[in-house]
Symmetry: C2
Subunit: 164 residues, 2 copies
């Protein structure tokens, strides 16, 4: 049913040493998301999560120099411990963006991201997928360091789960 | 939780003489949607429904002169007999639109629409809501005859349910 397009989509899969319930919790509660969500020395200084389809997912990342990088959007799929999808192409309650974008969001391209979790022994198969609307957006996201950034964040997430 | 904004949203409610199960069926199966979905003498000549969050909702309306007006998008909420939400701001699998819109869709503004159904005696409370990203889109939709068009289509839907 689902389709991936190598020209438009970025995706990676890793087997990680943490139960998926903890990974889910780390993705879906501000208190447990802020410690790992962006690669150090950047940090997450604000986070709002309204965990339902149509609910808000809002974060502000901050550089060591104090520059703020907000991201705003809403959840599309919330399947406990299994599948989390959100987009920056819709605001809360699925509202379309204004034609002349006025959101606080930093990135100017649109994406829809999905985290899938499957139990594998005592660990988890972790699949991250990001869909884009055109090749330019996909390339921009890749050039921003998508694989490196999400990979480092995942390392931080797994390390954090040991402290939860 | 949900918010409506009178500057951005269009909404109407009607009590209709049809059980909500038939209304749901008429909204969610091509065979039962095509007969009523657009005000006569226009007609629906193509319809594709993949009834799941992220699934495609595609229609082509045709004028009596043969001009085609396609609409493309995906479902966001599918709650049987209760609530159906879709948007033209995302393509199937929640893919964002290209920055330079290349879709076949006719309308150039984005909207997210919800149909809510509640049983009321032998009939149904029918609530239609359409959210937009800015006042210009909302006004354009209203000026296109949203209330009249959706009202006539609803009359056609109810008449059609008598024949189902």
């Amino acid at each position: 049913m689902e389709t991936l397009d190598p020209k438009l989509d970025l995706s990676f899969e890793r087997i990680v040493d943490a139960p998926r319930e903890l990974i889910w919790k780390a993705w879906t509660t501000p208190k447990h998301l802020m410690p790992w969500f962006c690669p150090a020395p950047w940090s997450v200084v604000e986070c709002e999560i309204d965990l339902r389809p149509g609910g808000r997912f809002y974060t502000v990342m901050q550089s060591p120099e104090g520059q703020r990088f907000p991201g705003d959007g809403c959840y599309l799929e919330v399947l406990d411990n299994t599948r989390l999808t959100w987009t920056n192409a819709l605001l809360p309650d699925f509202r379309p963006l204004a034609a002349i974008a006025q959101t606080e969001s930093t990135v100017d391209f649109k994406f829809t991201a999905t985290i899938q979790l499957e139990t594998l022994g005592t660990g988890t198969r972790y699949i991250a997928t990001v869909r884009h609307g055109d090749e330019a957006a996909c390339k921009q996201h890749a050039d921003m360091g998508f694989y490196e950034g999400w990979g480092i964040a995942l390392d931080q997430l797994i390390a954090y789960t040991k402290t939860m």
